[in-house]
Point group: C2
Chain length 213, copies 2
């Protein structure tokens, strides 16, 4: 009997130590996987985006080669490996359109939804994207398709007030929120899939609401 | 010496048990405090907002009394206890303006930033807010103040593509992201304070960029 008590304590101590170590490792692991929680504010000062879009090539342009919110946004987009969903009201920013095209040419599955009223407006890059083979769908109802979000690899969502236009990027006060929180990513992905189906060209009804005006 | 070993094991077991219990409580506490991660999608169908804006009064209007994304947004706003920062491009939605006014009359510190070009446009509620004593500041530079965010009690941020207009709420495809993640809240709060200072009427310079046109 004099031997059994210490043995019991040893077992207890061992079990408790194992449990606390396991808990500690869990906490450390949770802390190490740093969540992506970022906000970019615009306007971004004019700067050369070639260091991001054509890394390795030295650009002789006179623009400052500083890192801006636009550069950060481009780098994020170019980080996509498998898929990119873009659901943006207007796209006239050439650097942003070039990033989308680079992904498309690299084999990333790119799908774009945009607003029908602004697709053909001056400077729109939607035609350029389509010419290169990117599939673009658009609304056919009276309201605007006013979203400004994108989803990378079904794991990161980018959303906010920023249209992908020159004015929005370089002149307006704008914000872009970036998150890899799956609660957000899933919500935006479901909205994208809903709209992608709704805007399927096979179901176009030639803008009946607009014809009634 | 035969007494000291069991005592050491007892101390060790006690310490390890305490540590593991502490870790377990931390994990449980973290799980219990459910973070606010929500996305609202618009358009919201037309519905009566009186059940949210005037609870307790029965409204005889013919609109459906259903719960919509607008109702949820109004309830969130009306939940503010101490402060509300609104930084929105255009405000023409009467229910949203009424919610802001209710908070103002209830003693919540309300500050509004809006875009100068759209403040006086048809249906804008900015004049109504000012008449009731809400302090509104606006941009005086050429670009748009295009943000669409609000901060409640310095602890919840609401942001997205939604202008606070009738068309945005009831016709457009729009999104509103809601979060109590302090990384986001702080970023938007700092942007608000920057703009609040920048748009201080004491520093107006009578739109010099616009005069140069």
């Amino acid at each position: 009997m004099s031997y059994s008590y210490p043995a019991l304590w040893k077992v207890l101590a061992g079990a408790a130590l194992c449990l606390s170590l396991e808990m500690m490792f869990r906490c450390i692991r949770r802390r190490r996987r740093r969540p992506l929680r970022e906000v970019l504010f615009f306007p971004a000062p004019l700067s050369c985006t070639e260091p991001v879009l054509s890394p390795g090539l030295s650009c002789p342009c006179p623009l400052p080669h500083t890192d801006t919110a636009l550069c950060r946004l481009l780098r994020l987009l170019l980080g996509a490996q498998r898929s990119l969903e873009v659901c943006v009201f207007t796209v006239s920013s050439q650097p942003l359109a070039r990033a989308v095209l680079q992904l498309h040419h690299r084999g990333v599955r790119v799908r774009v939804i945009s607003d029908s009223d602004y697709m053909a407006s001056h400077g729109s890059q939607i035609g350029v994207l389509r010419q290169e083979g990117v599939v673009v769908r658009h609304n056919q109802s009276e309201g605007y398709m006013h979203h400004k979000f994108a989803i990378l690899d079904k794991s990161v969502v980018i959303t906010g007030s920023l249209n992908w236009t020159v004015q929005a990027v370089h002149t307006n006060k704008e914000n872009v929120l970036i998150s890899d929180d799956q609660a957000y990513v899933q919500a935006y992905l479901e909205e994208f899939e809903r709209l992608w189906e709704e805007y399927d060209p096979a179901t176009y009804d030639f803008f009946p609401e607009k014809d009634q005006k």
